[in-house]
């Protein structure tokens, strides 16, 4: 059985450490917030200008002045601070955020990542994605292994890049891959979802990879 979206988020949460400042992207990455271990102090950064993001508000308590980067209503915590867009991206580009968990359309064996544009179709814009992958200490991609039967883990990305050699770890519904960002390109399968075979993963991955399943 391949992992569900929630199981992928739960696996991504294993990358959290006590005291981390973390930015979560839209989609499956948002679900990671549900799996922060009890007792672990993790502050979530929202790039529109907030650190210490709280849960969604109770109905009737929504505040139009308090939203996250996905434009969803949220709440504040005792640890919360607010700041400008320049300060927010100073944190991100200055290397002060420990971990970025985000989605992707394609990831290459060398860590190249594409997630913002499909040429010929309407482009919505990169928002903060290029800044996050360029500046955050560790970048974890959480994505389906394939999109409509097409491989997303490739030898080289075919879509315009969000960043070059920026991915440290890829979690898909089939397994987990570690990627070297420096030196020769190297991608290693380190975990396999229960009931999934290496052959199935090989068949659905258009990139060479080593196998070192723990």
């Amino acid at each position: 059985m391949a992992w569900t979206r929630d199981q992928m988020a739960e696996r991504a949460a294993q990358e959290l450490q006590d005291g981390f400042y973390v930015n979560l992207g839209i989609g499956i990455p948002t679900l990671v917030a549900n799996y922060i271990p009890t007792g672990m102090s993790v502050q979530l950064q929202s790039e529109n200008g907030m650190l210490g993001m709280g849960p969604f508000p109770y109905e009737g308590e929504e505040d139009a002045d308090l939203i996250n980067a996905g434009k969803q209503t949220i709440t504040e915590l005792p640890t919360t601070s607010y700041f400008s867009g320049a300060d927010s991206f100073g944190m991100i580009r200055g290397g002060h955020i420990d971990l970025s968990i985000l989605g992707a359309m394609q990831v290459a064996r060398n860590g190249d990542l594409a997630n913002w544009m499909v040429p010929g179709k309407m482009v919505k814009g990169m928002g903060g994605a290029m800044d996050l992958v360029a500046g955050v200490k560790k970048v974890v991609v959480v994505m389906e292994h394939e999109a409509k039967g097409e491989a997303k883990l490739l030898e080289q990305c075919t879509l315009p890049l969000t960043g070059q050699r920026v991915t440290d770890l890829v979690i898909t519904d089939l397994g987990v891959f570690a990627i070297e960002r420096r030196g020769d390109p190297k991608m290693t399968l380190i975990e396999i979802a229960p009931g999934v075979t290496v052959d199935e993963i090989k068949a659905k991955t258009l990139a060479a990879f080593d196998i070192a399943v723990q």
Partner: protein, 240 residues
């Protein structure tokens, strides 16, 4: 009291001209200077270059200036919420310059601080760096980006005083304080207008030097794009 204008249209009087560049604060529909945007619509000024993180949504915020076709070019990081935008862009009516959000913020901050250009890692090896100077510092590659400076910035603040000192509220701060610094003239609309001396100087977010005109817009309608809530869990102790 010379900075305070009693009407929104008066706050923009003499500032607008065809072909000008305007910065508009806000993130999504949060903290947008909506009254000033509508006054710009009513003025009929056209061929605008608008620098704003987003382009409003259909019928709200900057979306209304797209409807009236007053915008010629947008400089933004994300415009996915606006169908009319897609239409005008694909038909070639509207020019678009995408900036990574942090690059956009830093370009504005730099422009306001008199910094003409800077280097950043963001966008290296992507189409964003095409045609731009790329230099190596300490073994890493960086791309040069230019500072941004507009003819006019319009911002929304929670509170302002007669000197132009501004205080923003929660995530409605976003691009407003940096844009306030990065234009020849900044006009602020404020939900609460107080006399000088009624804002604690230690709590001022934007010093009044950056704000040339201010207008009181009490009780503005605020829009929520994604209303998300969680269910109330009734504690056992509350059920007898």
């Amino acid at each position: 009291m010379r900075k305070v204008h009693s009407k929104v249209s008066a706050a923009l009087d003499g500032l607008l001209f065809d072909g000008m560049t305007i910065m508009a604060g806000g993130f999504g529909l949060c903290g947008i200077p909506e009254a000033l945007i509508y006054a710009i619509r009513d003025s009929g000024v056209k061929d605008l270059t608008v620098i704003s993180n987003n382009a409003g949504v259909d019928g709200i915020g900057l979306g209304v200036l797209l409807e009236t076709r007053q915008i010629r070019k947008m400089v933004s990081s994300y415009v996915g919420e606006n169908k009319l935008f897609a239409q005008q862009y694909l038909s070639g009516e509207l020019e678009l310059e995408f900036n990574p959000q942090g690059t956009l913020a830093e370009r504005i901050r730099a422009g306001g601080a008199g910094v003409p250009a800077f280097y950043t890692k963001t966008g290296v090896g992507t189409i964003i760096a095409d045609g731009k100077d790329v230099r190596e510092f300490d073994g890493e590659s960086y791309v040069m980006e230019r500072g941004l400076f507009a003819d006019l910035s319009i911002v929304h603040a929670f509170k302002g005083d007669t000197e132009g000192n501004l205080v923003y509220r929660k995530t409605a701060r976003n691009f407003n304080p940096i844009m306030a610094t990065a234009a020849r003239i900044t006009v602020a609309e404020v939900e609460h207008l107080v006399d000088a001396g009624n804002i604690d100087p230690d709590q001022v977010h934007t010093p009044g030097i950056f704000v040339k005109r201010i207008v009181h817009v009490p009780n503005p309608t605020k829009h929520i794009e994604q209303r998300t809530t969680r269910p109330r869990i009734i504690a056992a102790s509350e059920v007898n």
